[in-house]
C-alpha cells in the first residue's frame, strides 16, 4: 500500500510534452535527408541549401518570415477553433474566398483610400466567417459533421473563386489569371526590401496577443476551452452550446480571411489564381504542432515556412524538385495528429 501521489510540476510537464514534438520534427527531417540522398545527385549541396538557403540572403530570409505571416494568422484561428472542438478544415476555401472579397471590395472603395482597405478586410472577414459559420450552424442544428461540411464547402468555393477570377473578374490587362490590382494606397509597406516582408507581420504578432487574451484571459476563452475539453461538462456548467459551436467556426473563418487579405495587400497586390493553394492546410498543421497555444503558433509557423523556403532554395541552387517539401509536409501531417506520439514523453499514470 505504498501509494505515491505523483507530484505535478507544470515545468516538467511542459518539457515532457515537448518530447513528442521534437520526435516528430526529427523524423520529418530524417525523411528529408533520406530523400535528398536518394533523389539528388549532389545531396550535400541539396541538404546545405535546404538548411541554410533561407539565411543566405536578406531577400530569402524576409520571404521566409513573410511566408510565415498567413500561417500564423490562420493557425491562430484554427487553434481557437480546434481548442473548442470545432474541426474547421475548410481553410483553403475560406482563405481564398476572403482574399477575393477583400480585393474586390478595396477596388470598389478606391476613393476611400486607407479606410477602404480597412473596410475591405472587415468585409472579407465577415464573409469568410459566415462561410465557415455555416458548418457550425449545421452542426448545432442537425449535428452534421463539421469536418466534412467545412471541407466540402471549401472545395466548392475554391472552384467558384477560380471561375470568378478567370471569368467575370479577370483583369483584361494582364495575361495572368488574376483580378485587377488593388489601388496603391491599399498596399502595405515593405519592412525588409527587396523581400516581400511587409507590415502584415505586425498584425500577425498583434493577433497572437489578441487571440491569447481571448483564449486565456477572458470568460469567453474559459468557456470555450471548457467546451473543447469536455462538452458534457460545459453543458452541465450552463455554457451556451450554440455559441461555442458557431463562434469558433466564425472566428477561424474570419482569421483565414484576414490571412488571405493581408497576403493580397502585402504581397500579391491582386488575387492571382491559386495563390493560396496549400496555405489553409499548412496553417492547420501549424496549429496542430503548436497544440493550439497562440504563442507556440509563431515558432511552428516559422518551422513550416523554413521547410518550404528551404525546399525552394534547394530547388533553386541544386537539382531537386519542389515536391520534396510536400513529402516532408506529408510526414509531418502523418505524425502530428498521433496521440501516442504527442504523449511520448508523458508517463502513463500508474503507481
Amino acid at each position: 500500500m505504498n501509494k505515491k501521489i505523483e507530484c505535478y510540476n507544470p515545468v516538467i510537464y511542459m518539457l515532457r510534452s515537448m518530447v513528442g514534438l521534437i520526435f516528430i520534427v526529427f523524423v520529418s527531417l530524417v525523411a528529408l535527408v533520406g530523400f535528398s540522398y536518394y533523389l539528388s545527385e549532389t545531396p550535400d549541396k541539396t541538404i546545405y541549401y535546404f538548411f541554410n538557403g533561407p539565411f543566405l540572403s536578406l531577400y530569402d530570409f524576409g520571404n521566409m518570415i513573410n511566408m510565415a505571416v498567413p500561417l500564423i494568422i490562420g493557425g491562430l484561428g484554427i487553434s481557437l477553433a480546434f481548442r473548442s472542438g470545432s474541426m474547421n478544415i475548410g481553410g483553403e476555401g475560406q482563405l481564398y474566398f476572403g482574399a477575393l472579397i477583400a480585393t474586390l471590395t478595396v477596388i470598389a472603395l478606391e476613393p476611400l483610400g486607407r479606410a477602404g482597405a480597412v473596410i475591405a478586410i472587415f468585409v472579407a472577414m465577415m464573409s469568410s466567417g459566415i462561410l465557415a459559420g455555416i458548418s457550425g450552424v449545421l452542426r448545432y442544428r442537425w449535428n452534421t459533421n463539421v469536418l466534412i461540411t467545412s471541407f466540402l464547402i471549401s472545395n466548392a468555393v475554391v472552384l467558384i473563386v477560380n471561375y470568378l477570377i478567370t471569368g467575370p473578374f479577370d483583369d483584361p490587362l494582364t495575361n495572368l489569371f488574376s483580378t485587377q490590382p488593388i489601388p496603391e494606397t491599399a498596399e502595405l509597406s515593405y519592412i525588409l526590401p527587396p523581400s516581400n516582408l511587409n507590415t502584415s507581420l505586425i498584425v500577425a504578432v498583434a493577433a497572437v496577443f489578441i487571440i491569447h487574451a481571448l483564449m486565456y484571459r477572458s470568460r469567453t476563452g474559459f468557456e470555450l476551452r471548457m467546451y473543447g475539453d469536455n462538452p458534457r461538462f460545459a453543458k452541465y456548467a450552463g455554457v451556451n452550446v450554440m455559441y461555442y459551436q458557431i463562434m469558433p467556426m466564425f472566428v477561424s473563418g474570419a482569421m483565414y480571411a484576414l490571412a488571405g487579405s493581408l497576403s493580397i495587400f502585402g504581397t500579391y497586390h491582386a488575387t492571382i489564381k491559386d495563390f493560396s493553394s496549400g496555405m489553409g492546410w499548412n496553417a492547420l498543421a501549424v496549429a496542430l504542432i503548436a497544440r493550439y497555444r497562440p504563442f507556440a503558433v509563431i515558432p511552428a509557423a516559422l518551422f513550416f515556412a523554413y521547410i518550404e523556403s528551404g525546399a525552394r532554395s534547394a530547388m533553386l541552387y541544386s537539382d531537386v524538385t519542389f515536391e520534396l517539401s510536400s513529402i516532408v509536409q506529408a510526414t509531418v501531417f502523418f505524425l502530428v495528429s498521433s496521440v501516442t506520439l504527442q504523449r511520448l514523453g508523458l508517463k502513463k499514470r500508474r503507481i
Binding site: 530523400f35 452534421t144 466534412i148 515536391e323 496521440v339
Partner: protein, 299 residues
C-alpha cells in the same frame, strides 16, 4: 451512335474508376473509418502500375507492383491511425499530399520529367464485346464495347457483395463498423479488420488508378483529378450498399457525360461543373443528418 447511346456509353467509361475506388472505400467505410486517402492511393496506383508495366512488360508483375505500392501506403495510413491513434482525416490528407509529391518526385527522378510521361509502346487496352454496342438500344452501350477494367469493376463489385454479405469475414467486417464491442466480446480485434479494410481499399484504389493511366498509356501528374473524393461521395450517395454504389456511380457518370455534352451547347464554366460533386455531397450529407437527427429524436 445517337446522342443517348453515346451519353450512356461515356457514362460507363467515366463511372468505372469511380466504381472501383468506391467499392474499395466501401470496405473501410463499413468498418467505420472515413478513408480520405482514396485519392492518393489511386494516384500512387496509377503511377506505379503504368511505370512498372513500362519496365517489366509483364502485366501480372505490373498489377502486383501497382497494387502493392498502394496497399503499402494504405498500411501506413492504417497503422498510424489505428496504432498511433492519429486522426484518420488528417492521415488521409497526408497520404494524398504524399502521393502527389512522391509520384512527381519519382517521375522526375526516373524519367527526368515532371510532366506527362508517355509510354507509346504500351498496347491499347483491348475493347471487349464491341459488336454488341450498337445492337441493343440502351443496354448495348451500357454493357458492351468497354475495356477490360469496366468488366473487372462489375466483377469486383459482385465479389465484394459476396464477401461482405455472404462470408464470415464480411460479417465480422460489418460488425466492426456497426458495433465494434461485439467483436471484442468474442475475442476478435476490430482494429485488425479496420487494417485489412484499409489494405483492400488500397488494392481497389490502385486498380482504379491503373485504369486511368494504363488506358491512356501515359502518366499525367494529378491524373486522378479529384476522382477519389467523388468516390467517397458515391459511397455516401449509394448508402453504403453495393447496388447503391453501382447506381450512384452511374449517376455521376451520366451527369458528367451530360455536362461534357452540354459544354458544347451552353458553355457552362468548367469550374462550376467541377464544383457540382462537392455541392451534391454536401446537400446529401446535410439531408442525411437531418434524417438521422429526426430519427434519434423520435427514439
Amino acid at each position: 451512335m445517337d446522342t443517348v447511346s453515346s451519353l450512356i456509353f461515356s457514362a460507363v467509361t467515366i463511372m468505372t474508376p469511380l466504381l472501383l475506388a468506391a467499392t474499395g472505400g466501401l470496405y473501410t467505410e463499413l468498418t467505420g473509418m472515413l478513408n480520405i486517402g482514396i485519392e492518393g492511393l489511386m494516384l500512387l496506383g496509377a503511377f506505379s502500375s503504368v511505370v512498372s508495366l513500362h519496365f517489366t512488360h509483364n502485366i501480372v508483375l505490373a498489377i502486383l507492383i501497382g497494387t502493392g505500392s498502394s496497399m503499402l501506403l494504405a498500411a501506413v495510413i492504417a497503422s498510424i491511425t489505428l496504432y498511433l491513434k492519429a486522426n484518420v482525416f488528417i492521415t488521409g490528407l497526408a497520404a494524398n499530399l504524399f502521393a502527389s509529391g512522391i509520384t512527381t518526385v519519382l517521375s522526375f527522378h526516373i524519367f527526368a520529367n515532371k510532366g506527362v510521361v508517355t509510354f507509346p509502346e504500351l498496347p491499347q487496352m483491348p475493347v471487349l464485346f464491341e459488336r454488341g454496342t450498337e445492337a441493343v438500344p440502351v443496354l448495348g452501350p451500357l454493357l458492351f464495347g468497354h475495356t477490360f477494367f469496366t468488366y473487372l469493376s462489375f466483377i469486383l463489385l459482385f465479389l465484394s457483395y459476396v464477401v461482405l454479405y455472404r462470408t464470415p469475414f464480411g460479417f465480422r467486417l460489418r460488425a466492426t463498423g456497426l458495433y465494434p464491442k461485439s467483436l471484442i466480446s468474442v475475442g476478435l480485434s476490430p482494429k485488425r479488420y479496420q487494417f485489412i479494410a484499409f489494405l483492400i481499399s488500397g488494392f481497389f484504389s490502385a486498380v482504379a488508378g491503373a485504369m486511368l493511366s494504363v488506358n491512356l498509356g501515359a502518366f499525367v501528374p494529378n491524373i486522378t483529378a479529384g476522382k477519389g473524393w467523388v468516390a467517397l461521395v458515391v459511397i455516401f450517395l449509394g448508402q453504403k450498399r453495393p447496388v447503391g454504389l453501382l447506381i450512384a456511380s452511374f449517376i455521376f457518370g451520366i451527369s458528367e457525360a451530360f455536362s461534357n455534352y452540354a459544354q458544347g451547347i451552353w458553355h457552362i464554366p468548367s469550374d462550376f461543373i467541377l464544383a457540382i460533386p462537392y455541392i451534391f455531397t454536401l446537400v446529401a450529407i446535410v439531408f442525411y443528418s437531418i434524417y438521422d437527427y429526426n430519427r434519434q429524436k423520435v427514439e
